[in-house]
């Protein structure tokens, strides 16, 4: 088991784990729409599959939010 942070919340998880797997475990509603930072660096969407999350990593999921005028 490893300890990681997801959007600032502690998560205990078997590490190392593929980023795509972490996205699935966290039930991200629209995996194709989420932006991801690992340890403060944005990950290119094409690299989600090849990115591995290790013990101690800090992962941020950022979601699109529109709306305002009409």
């Amino acid at each position: 088991m490893g300890n990681i942070k997801v959007n600032d919340n502690d998560q205990q998880i078997a590490t190392p784990i593929a980023l795509t797997e972490l996205i699935a475990i966290n039930k991200v509603l629209q995996p194709d729409m989420v932006s991801v930072q690992v340890n403060g660096e944005f990950i290119d969407r094409e690299a989600f599959g090849s990115t591995v999350i290790k013990d101690g990593d800090q992962v941020d999921f950022l979601y699109f939010m529109g709306g305002g005028a009409r």
């Binding site: 959007n7 194709d32 729409m33 290119d44 699109f64 939010m65």
Partner: protein, 270 residues
Amino acid sequence: MNLTDQQIERYSRHILLQDVGVEGQEKIAAGRVLVIGAGGLGAPALLYLAAAGVGTLGVIDGDVVDLSNLQRQVIHFTDDVGRAKVESARAKIAQINPDVKVITHQAFFTEDNALEIIKDYDFIVDGTDNFPVKFLINDACVMGGKPFSHGGILRFEGQTFTHLPGTACYRCMFGSPPPPNAVPTCSQAGVLGAIAGMLGTIQAAETLKFLTGVGELLTDRLLTFNAKSMNFKTVNVRRRERCPVCGAHPTITELHESEQAACEFNPRQQ
């Protein structure tokens, strides 16, 4: 400029603030701010910026007031239904504060008018409701070297950050617009009216901080809140070296609206 006795009284609660004072109030009075969209976010932002005494307020919106707007677009009143939003906004601003010079643009913000319109302003507030225009505002401000406040709301949630030249931009965080209808807007999914007030007011506060130089702006940070839990969170974000518009080797060098880049995203599976 020198403040009159009446202005010193009107702005006394600003002037009392040690960080603002007469000097800060004069900076606000010298400020030129463009609010894009006189809707859910633009309405509260405009009201507070007008009350604060921002010298020049630009408003751009091509819409007319609709009955369904009144639940959250607090600058428009029942009698304004059918009236151009920019005219409705201008009338309220004049009543709140005759010191403010209002410049209205009854049009939508497009790739053709974007750079020409923003060039006259010190700070831009994004109060629009759709992704292509949000990306257009980002690109125009990055290219024009203009600071701006980004804002988005949906259902019970809001999201905002402030961009200054050199800090993380919207494309650093999100790349390119989602394909049409992949992410709902307020008109499709609804929004609690007060959320618009919360977020638009944060944007107004950022604008006033920028004009006065007080505090730390919401740069390189994305603030999100959920009114159901009333949790506020900021995620630190870092400018992306490979950002297509503000990165080291930009691939976007001129403005294109509704550049959806659908190829980058797969259509939603659910």
